[in-house]
Symmetry: C3
Subunit: 137 residues, 3 copies
């Protein structure tokens, strides 16, 4: 069973969509759900959903680990014609997951108490991001 | 078929549990095993199981890449009330896998000769970590 | 259904094998394909397949993030007897994926327009790398 999700984003950072994913299970009682994002400039992560500061800190850490190509430290990068945030977005998309796999039991996602599912946007401009869900038995 | 694993940890570093995972297959001959950790401050990694220095070096690399929030370089982090090792643990949990998928053939995990399955603990205090295994055909 | 792939490499960098993976589907119409690399010194990544500069930049970023053990910054590493590129290769293999999961629909890999499947080699010498594909329904 496959489900398509569209996640609108409006600049870099984490966008939670746990509730949409949970609603897509439609009573299937057991299996494993794979989520796959069809882009190379954003990521999927499972992260703490309790304190919103965690998501802000995550964004700020990765913004420093992979600065824009306008930063002199990144002068060796050559793929710059799509904007200073483009090649860093590809690097973050390599460092962070393109897909997640989450067990399902008794019709529930087997997430831990503090785990939420996030799309991590790496580009500056607004985007609509496609995520495909596939539930295997 | 799902199996729950509990991995006790006693400070940061890698804890191998390949043997428990192999024992959980119970004769299923082919499929893919997904392992999922229900926490946002530890990770699952597949790494070299030959020389224990590799695991020590991995721990030391990530301790430098993401230092505690008491390090002046990390002064921009705001989620600090759970201890100096907490937000770095969340960052490492984003950088490293929350889940692994390993093919099974002839009743065996199709790991390479030098591959072992590890829980990578990022917190200082002792924990009991929950990992869920799901075997798909 | 499982398929074995052998990817020859000749030094560090990204090697695309999307076409071999697509050809291995053999008409199975829906499911999820898991790819797993049986080594701890190379990785599997999904990345932009349009501009080859992206792959060069990715390689150069990771070469700086995890320099050879001959770099004074890496003097704390102890696993050095297999060469200056060996322990950094293990670190990159922790940072980057060992496995990928890609949905299949209507007999096609559900990759985005610009997504390709790459083996990311981290060692200096030539290697032959084993990747196992497993298609779940």
């Amino acid at each position: 069973m496959q489900t398509d999700f569209t996640i609108p984003t409006n600049g870099p950072g984490l966008y939670e969509f746990t509730a949409q994913v949970a609603a897509s299970l439609h009573g299937q009682t057991a299996g494993v759900l794979t989520l796959f994002v069809q882009h190379t400039s954003c990521s999927l992560v499972i992260q703490e959903n309790a304190d919103p500061e965690v998501q802000v800190d995550l964004h700020n850490y990765f913004a420093r680990l992979v600065p824009p190509t306008t930063d002199p430290k990144m002068a060796y990068l050559t793929h710059t014609y799509e904007g200073p945030d483009d090649m860093p977005a590809h690097i973050k998309a390599a460092l962070l997951p393109t897909h997640l796999s989450i067990p399902v039991r008794n019709g529930q996602l087997m997430l831990g108490t503090w785990q939420g599912i996030y799309l991590f946007e790496h580009r500056d401009r607004a985007h609509r991001r496609n995520v495909i869900g596939h539930l295997s038995s």
